[in-house]
């Protein structure tokens, strides 16, 4: 290419650059818009989802409740009727559709307490966990197996058969004791304890002196 042609092209160079600038800016305008992802990245979400720390077992949670551990909040994500029928002690009720109401956010979006979601199994609790985790809320856990597992392990633990290892018997003992804490009574328990009814202490009588009625003082 000879110099003349180059000079010809170069004389338009500012025009060309200006056009490129405007085309690029216009391209931004014409690009199809997509919903931007809020909260944490998908990689972080995945690593949280496959982490073992996500679940808390019923044994762990009963241990915590019995010891009066103050570091966690139990969140029942079932509807209100189920919550009224039965729930874990001190659990608060946040039905899944109302998860992100302002009043509820202060329970689940904080980094002071562990939040333990539970439902009948862990299906709805997992959904709640996923929604909250995506938004970057911290210290979220799911009760493994939910209330169904709670019943089969803590409230009504199965008696291990004789060929099972010693640990199973130990665990059974712990679970049985835990279930007693949560109000289950066993037939052998009644026989063991010769229910000593404590003597009713006589009521203390506190005499309260009545205030003397004041005579209405004279006016003026």
């Amino acid at each position: 290419m000879n110099k003349k042609n180059i000079a010809k092209i170069l004389s338009f160079r500012y025009m060309l650059m200006a056009t490129v600038l405007i085309i690029l800016a216009g391209g931004l305008l014409l690009l199809p818009k997509h919903q931007k992802q809020e909260g944490i990245t998908s990689e972080t979400l995945l690593s949280h989802a496959i982490s073992n720390e996500r679940y808390i077992s019923t044994d762990q949670i009963s241990h915590k409740i019995i010891n009066g551990d103050p570091s966690f909040i139990l969140v029942d994500v079932r509807d209100e009727k189920s919550y009224q029928t039965y729930s874990l002690p001190n659990a608060i009720n946040i039905p899944l559709p109302e998860l992100f109401k302002d009043a509820h956010l202060e329970y689940i979006n904080q980094d002071q307490f562990d939040v333990v979601f539970f439902s009948n199994d862990n299906f709805h609790a997992d959904q709640a966990w996923l929604l909250c985790d995506r938004l970057g809320f911290k210290n979220l856990r799911v009760l493994q197996g939910g209330l169904n597992t709670w019943f089969t392990t803590i409230i009504n633990p199965s008696i291990p058969s004789e060929d099972q290892p010693l640990e199973d018997f130990e665990r059974y003992k712990t679970r049985k004791a835990a279930s007693m804490y949560f109000g289950v009574t066993y037939p052998d328990q009644d026989i063991d304890n010769n229910l000593t009814v404590p003597k009713p202490t006589p009521k203390k009588i506190i005499t309260v002196q009545k205030k003397k009625k004041r005579v209405a003082e004279g006016g003026c």
Binding site: L21, I22, L24, A25, G26, L28, L29, L31
Partner: protein, 197 residues
């Protein structure tokens, strides 16, 4: 992904070093493109040289387009970028003072330091003036404090406060840039030429 520093792709201990490298590059580019001459800078106001306008306008337009493309493609999260806080009246009054100083002295603070580095006497005087101004401001700070700290609007942008669509803004901004370059060229051709080194 980005910005690189807040997301830990570069350890944050590097930020001062990166700032120094960028600063050196900035100073080098300013000086080598002749921005350490007060005549070139003042030329914008007298109409014989629009290099400053063109350079900074182009820089803004190119970077905003680039940033929004990177944001669109997911390489950069725009919401994580630093937005300078707005102190409304402080910004207006400061802008007027800076503008007057710019026309009168022919330097902006950055280019004045550039010119000091290559030993221009007028730049020495200019920087000395900046120092006096800094001293006066510091001494009279209690007087200026209500303006300095007041009228705080937060880290806002035009897009947030007016609810504009950023893509339209960028498009219009790019057109304004190109139009202003054309107008600048027309004015430059009409104004009497000034020759300087």
């Amino acid at each position: 992904m980005g910005p690189l520093l807040p997301n830990g792709f570069i350890p944050f201990e590097w930020d001062s070093i990166i700032a120094i490298i960028i600063g050196i590059a900035f100073g080098f580019v300013l000086e080598s493109s002749g921005f350490s001459s007060s005549r070139k800078l003042a030329g914008v106001f007298y109409g014989y040289d629009f290099a400053v306008l063109k350079v900074f306008f182009t820089a803004a337009a190119v970077s905003v387009i680039g940033i929004y493309y990177m944001d669109y493609l997911g390489y950069l999260d725009i919401t994580q970028l630093y937005i300078h806080p707005t102190y409304l009246w402080g910004a207006i009054i400061g802008g007027v003072i800076m503008g007057v100083g710019f026309v009168a002295g022919g330097f902006c603070p950055g280019t004045s330091l550039c010119a000091v580095a290559i030993g221009k006497l007028d730049a020495w005087v200019y920087v000395f003036g900046i120092m006096i101004g800094v001293f006066l401001f510091s001494e009279l700070f209690p007087l200026f404090e209500p303006i300095y700290d007041g009228y705080f609007l937060g880290n806002i942008t035009l897009i947030d406060s007016f609810g504009w669509n950023p893509y339209w803004i960028i498009f219009i901004f790019a057109i304004i840039a190109v139009v202003s370059f054309v107008i600048a060229d027309i004015i430059r051709k009409r104004v009497k030429k000034v020759f300087y080194e």
